[in-house]
Protein backbone atom coordinates (compact mmCIF):
# COMPACT_ATOMS: atom_id res chain seq x y z
CA UNK A 1 0.00 0.00 0.00
CA UNK A 2 1.46 3.32 -0.99
CA UNK A 3 1.90 6.16 1.50
CA UNK A 4 -0.87 8.64 1.40
CA UNK A 5 0.00 12.09 0.12
CA UNK A 6 0.43 14.75 2.84
CA UNK A 7 -2.71 16.67 3.48
CA UNK A 8 -2.84 20.45 3.33
CA UNK A 9 -2.94 20.44 7.16
CA UNK A 10 0.27 18.39 7.35
CA UNK A 11 2.01 20.77 4.97
CA UNK A 12 0.91 23.81 6.95
CA UNK A 13 1.98 22.20 10.24
CA UNK A 14 5.42 21.33 8.86
CA UNK A 15 5.89 24.79 7.43
CA UNK A 16 4.96 26.34 10.78
CA UNK A 17 7.34 24.06 12.64
CA UNK A 18 10.17 24.98 10.26
CA UNK A 19 9.46 28.68 10.82
CA UNK A 20 9.35 28.24 14.61
CA UNK A 21 12.62 26.38 14.53
CA UNK A 22 14.38 29.02 12.44
CA UNK A 23 13.06 31.73 14.75
CA UNK A 24 14.23 29.81 17.84
CA UNK A 25 17.71 29.29 16.41
CA UNK A 26 18.03 32.94 15.40
CA UNK A 27 16.93 34.16 18.81
CA UNK A 28 19.31 31.76 20.56
CA UNK A 29 22.22 32.88 18.39
CA UNK A 30 21.48 36.54 19.11
CA UNK A 31 22.04 35.75 22.80
CA UNK A 32 25.34 33.96 22.29
CA UNK A 33 27.53 36.90 23.37
CA UNK A 34 25.68 37.08 26.66
CA UNK A 35 25.78 33.31 27.12
CA UNK A 36 29.53 33.30 26.48
CA UNK A 37 30.10 36.14 28.94
CA UNK A 38 28.61 34.02 31.73
CA UNK A 39 30.16 30.75 30.50
CA UNK A 40 33.63 32.27 30.43
CA UNK A 41 33.50 32.97 34.17
CA UNK A 42 31.73 29.77 35.18
CA UNK A 43 34.28 27.66 33.31
CA UNK A 44 37.88 27.35 34.41
CA UNK A 45 39.45 28.33 31.09
CA UNK A 46 38.65 29.92 27.75
CA UNK A 47 38.82 26.56 25.97
CA UNK A 48 36.44 25.00 28.44
CA UNK A 49 34.04 27.94 28.09
CA UNK A 50 34.07 27.60 24.29
CA UNK A 51 33.38 23.85 24.54
CA UNK A 52 30.57 24.42 26.99
CA UNK A 53 28.89 27.07 24.85
CA UNK A 54 29.16 24.91 21.74
CA UNK A 55 27.76 21.85 23.51
CA UNK A 56 24.99 23.90 25.07
CA UNK A 57 23.93 25.22 21.66
CA UNK A 58 24.08 21.74 20.14
CA UNK A 59 21.84 20.44 22.89
CA UNK A 60 19.53 23.47 22.72
CA UNK A 61 19.08 23.11 18.96
CA UNK A 62 18.32 19.39 19.37
CA UNK A 63 15.76 19.93 22.12
CA UNK A 64 14.32 23.25 20.97
CA UNK A 65 10.76 21.90 21.24
CA UNK A 66 11.15 21.77 25.03
CA UNK A 67 11.56 25.53 25.16
CA UNK A 68 8.33 27.38 25.92
CA UNK A 69 8.10 30.44 23.64
CA UNK A 70 7.70 33.67 25.54
CA UNK A 71 9.75 32.48 28.53
CA UNK A 72 13.32 33.62 29.23
CA UNK A 73 15.40 32.01 26.49
CA UNK A 74 18.70 33.28 27.88
CA UNK A 75 17.93 31.58 31.23
CA UNK A 76 16.90 28.39 29.40
CA UNK A 77 20.22 28.31 27.53
CA UNK A 78 22.21 28.96 30.69
CA UNK A 79 20.33 26.19 32.48
CA UNK A 80 21.52 23.76 29.81
CA UNK A 81 25.03 25.13 30.05
CA UNK A 82 25.30 24.92 33.85
CA UNK A 83 23.95 21.35 33.77
CA UNK A 84 26.58 20.42 31.20
CA UNK A 85 29.22 22.01 33.40
CA UNK A 86 28.10 19.93 36.37
CA UNK A 87 28.04 16.78 34.18
CA UNK A 88 31.62 17.44 33.21
CA UNK A 89 32.51 17.37 36.88
CA UNK A 90 34.06 20.77 36.59
CA UNK A 91 37.29 19.17 35.51
CA UNK A 92 39.15 22.43 35.46
CA UNK A 93 38.03 23.39 38.94
CA UNK A 94 40.76 25.42 40.51
CA UNK A 95 39.31 26.67 43.73
CA UNK A 96 38.65 24.78 46.97
CA UNK A 97 35.04 24.15 47.87
CA UNK A 98 35.30 24.80 51.54
CA UNK A 99 35.38 28.36 52.68
CA UNK A 100 37.51 29.07 55.69
CA UNK A 101 35.79 31.44 58.07
CA UNK A 102 38.61 33.94 57.85
CA UNK A 103 37.98 34.20 54.13
CA UNK A 104 35.09 36.51 54.75
CA UNK A 105 35.06 40.04 55.97
CA UNK A 106 32.43 42.73 56.24
CA UNK A 107 31.22 44.64 53.22
CA UNK A 108 33.28 47.74 54.05
CA UNK A 109 36.52 45.72 54.42
CA UNK A 110 37.73 46.11 50.83
CA UNK A 111 37.17 49.85 50.72
CA UNK A 112 38.84 50.35 54.09
CA UNK A 113 41.87 48.35 53.02
CA UNK A 114 42.22 50.04 49.62
CA UNK A 115 41.69 53.51 51.00
CA UNK A 116 44.48 52.98 53.50
CA UNK A 117 46.84 52.37 50.57
CA UNK A 118 45.98 55.58 48.75
CA UNK A 119 47.94 58.64 49.69
CA UNK A 120 46.24 61.84 50.70
CA UNK A 121 43.31 62.35 52.97
CA UNK A 122 39.82 61.46 51.90
CA UNK A 123 40.63 60.19 48.35
CA UNK A 124 37.74 59.86 45.93
CA UNK A 125 36.31 56.44 45.10
CA UNK A 126 37.80 56.30 41.61
CA UNK A 127 41.33 56.57 42.96
CA UNK A 128 40.57 53.83 45.46
CA UNK A 129 39.17 51.63 42.70
CA UNK A 130 42.33 52.08 40.65
CA UNK A 131 44.17 49.92 43.18
CA UNK A 132 42.50 46.95 41.44
CA UNK A 133 43.97 45.78 38.15
CA UNK A 134 41.88 43.90 35.60
CA UNK A 135 43.99 40.74 36.10
CA UNK A 136 43.56 40.88 39.85
CA UNK A 137 39.78 41.09 39.45
CA UNK A 138 39.70 38.10 37.07
CA UNK A 139 41.87 36.06 39.47
CA UNK A 140 39.91 37.11 42.54
CA UNK A 141 36.66 35.96 40.92
CA UNK A 142 38.20 32.67 39.72
CA UNK A 143 39.30 31.93 43.28
CA UNK A 144 35.77 32.17 44.69
CA UNK A 145 34.47 28.61 45.34
CA UNK A 146 32.26 27.57 42.42
CA UNK A 147 28.87 27.43 44.15
CA UNK A 148 29.31 31.03 45.22
CA UNK A 149 30.99 32.06 41.98
CA UNK A 150 28.23 30.65 39.77
CA UNK A 151 25.68 32.74 41.64
CA UNK A 152 27.76 35.92 41.47
CA UNK A 153 28.43 35.38 37.77
CA UNK A 154 24.73 34.90 36.98
CA UNK A 155 23.45 37.83 39.03
CA UNK A 156 26.28 40.39 38.95
CA UNK A 157 27.86 39.60 35.59
CA UNK A 158 24.94 38.06 33.68
CA UNK A 159 22.42 40.42 35.29
CA UNK A 160 19.90 37.67 35.94
CA UNK A 161 17.21 38.15 38.59
CA UNK A 162 17.39 36.06 41.78
CA UNK A 163 14.45 34.05 40.46
CA UNK A 164 16.15 33.28 37.15
CA UNK A 165 19.41 32.37 38.90
CA UNK A 166 17.48 30.04 41.22
CA UNK A 167 15.88 28.32 38.24
CA UNK A 168 19.15 28.04 36.31
CA UNK A 169 21.03 26.56 39.26
CA UNK A 170 18.02 24.57 40.51
CA UNK A 171 18.31 25.91 44.04
CA UNK A 172 15.86 27.85 46.23
CA UNK A 173 15.82 31.62 45.90
CA UNK A 174 16.91 31.97 49.54
CA UNK A 175 20.04 29.97 48.71
CA UNK A 176 20.75 32.31 45.79
CA UNK A 177 20.53 35.27 48.16
CA UNK A 178 22.76 33.75 50.83
CA UNK A 179 25.36 32.54 48.31
CA UNK A 180 25.37 35.94 46.70
CA UNK A 181 25.81 37.71 50.00
CA UNK A 182 28.65 35.44 51.16
CA UNK A 183 30.15 35.11 47.69
CA UNK A 184 30.46 38.86 47.22
CA UNK A 185 32.20 39.11 50.58
CA UNK A 186 34.62 36.33 49.64
CA UNK A 187 35.25 38.10 46.33
CA UNK A 188 35.98 41.36 48.11
CA UNK A 189 38.32 39.60 50.54
CA UNK A 190 40.14 38.07 47.53
CA UNK A 191 40.29 41.48 45.86
CA UNK A 192 41.77 43.03 48.98
CA UNK A 193 44.46 40.33 49.01
CA UNK A 194 45.33 40.93 45.34
CA UNK A 195 45.15 44.71 45.28
CA UNK A 196 48.04 46.58 43.77
CA UNK A 197 50.37 47.75 46.48
CA UNK A 198 52.22 50.88 45.53
Amino acid sequence: MSESAPTADDTRRLAKEARDRVRFEEEALELSDQVYRVARRIAGSREEAEDLVQQAYERAFRSWRQYTPGTNLRAWLLRILTNLNIDRGRRQQRSPQTVPLDNEAGDYFLYNKLESQVSGENPDEERVLERLSQDSIVDALADVPHDFRDTIVLVDIGEFSYADAAQILDIPIGTVMSRLHRGRRILKKNLADKAVTA
Binding site: V22, E25, R40, R46, E50, D107, L129, I137
Partner: protein, 76 residues
Protein backbone atom coordinates in the same frame (compact mmCIF):
# COMPACT_ATOMS: atom_id res chain seq x y z
CA UNK B 1 21.79 51.64 71.18
CA UNK B 2 21.98 50.84 67.47
CA UNK B 3 25.32 51.36 65.75
CA UNK B 4 23.98 52.74 62.49
CA UNK B 5 27.26 52.37 60.60
CA UNK B 6 27.32 48.64 61.44
CA UNK B 7 23.68 48.32 60.46
CA UNK B 8 24.31 50.21 57.23
CA UNK B 9 27.18 47.86 56.38
CA UNK B 10 24.85 44.87 56.86
CA UNK B 11 22.17 46.51 54.69
CA UNK B 12 24.47 47.55 51.85
CA UNK B 13 24.05 44.54 49.57
CA UNK B 14 20.26 44.22 49.92
CA UNK B 15 19.95 48.01 49.63
CA UNK B 16 21.81 48.06 46.31
CA UNK B 17 19.93 44.95 45.14
CA UNK B 18 16.64 46.69 45.90
CA UNK B 19 15.44 43.94 48.24
CA UNK B 20 14.94 45.93 51.45
CA UNK B 21 11.49 46.84 52.73
CA UNK B 22 10.37 50.47 52.33
CA UNK B 23 10.96 51.03 56.03
CA UNK B 24 14.50 49.63 55.88
CA UNK B 25 15.29 51.74 52.80
CA UNK B 26 14.09 54.85 54.64
CA UNK B 27 16.24 53.94 57.67
CA UNK B 28 19.33 53.34 55.54
CA UNK B 29 18.76 56.47 53.47
CA UNK B 30 18.31 58.61 56.53
CA UNK B 31 21.67 57.39 57.87
CA UNK B 32 23.40 57.77 54.49
CA UNK B 33 22.21 61.37 54.21
CA UNK B 34 23.96 62.15 57.48
CA UNK B 35 27.00 59.86 57.32
CA UNK B 36 29.49 60.57 54.54
CA UNK B 37 31.67 57.66 55.76
CA UNK B 38 28.94 55.10 54.92
CA UNK B 39 27.75 57.04 51.84
CA UNK B 40 31.25 56.84 50.38
CA UNK B 41 31.36 53.08 50.90
CA UNK B 42 27.95 52.62 49.29
CA UNK B 43 29.02 54.64 46.29
CA UNK B 44 32.24 52.63 46.05
CA UNK B 45 30.27 49.36 46.08
CA UNK B 46 28.08 50.55 43.20
CA UNK B 47 31.15 51.52 41.18
CA UNK B 48 32.90 48.26 42.14
CA UNK B 49 30.07 46.08 40.80
CA UNK B 50 30.21 47.88 37.47
CA UNK B 51 34.02 47.79 37.42
CA UNK B 52 34.09 44.02 38.10
CA UNK B 53 31.48 43.35 35.39
CA UNK B 54 33.52 45.24 32.82
CA UNK B 55 36.86 43.75 33.95
CA UNK B 56 35.76 40.11 33.65
CA UNK B 57 33.90 40.46 30.35
CA UNK B 58 35.72 38.95 27.39
CA UNK B 59 34.37 39.24 23.85
CA UNK B 60 33.26 35.95 22.33
CA UNK B 61 35.88 34.60 19.89
CA UNK B 62 34.75 35.07 16.27
CA UNK B 63 35.52 31.39 15.49
CA UNK B 64 33.11 30.27 18.18
CA UNK B 65 30.42 32.54 16.79
CA UNK B 66 30.95 30.98 13.36
CA UNK B 67 30.80 27.47 14.83
CA UNK B 68 27.49 28.24 16.52
CA UNK B 69 26.03 29.72 13.35
CA UNK B 70 27.01 26.51 11.53
CA UNK B 71 24.86 24.49 13.97
CA UNK B 72 21.69 25.99 12.50
CA UNK B 73 19.36 23.61 10.74
CA UNK B 74 19.87 23.96 6.99
CA UNK B 75 16.87 25.34 5.16
CA UNK B 76 15.45 22.98 2.55
Amino acid sequence: MIDWCDKCEEMMQPFLDGTLSDLEVAEAQSHLDKCSWCAKRYHFEERLRHYVRVAVTEPMPAELKAKLAALRTPLN
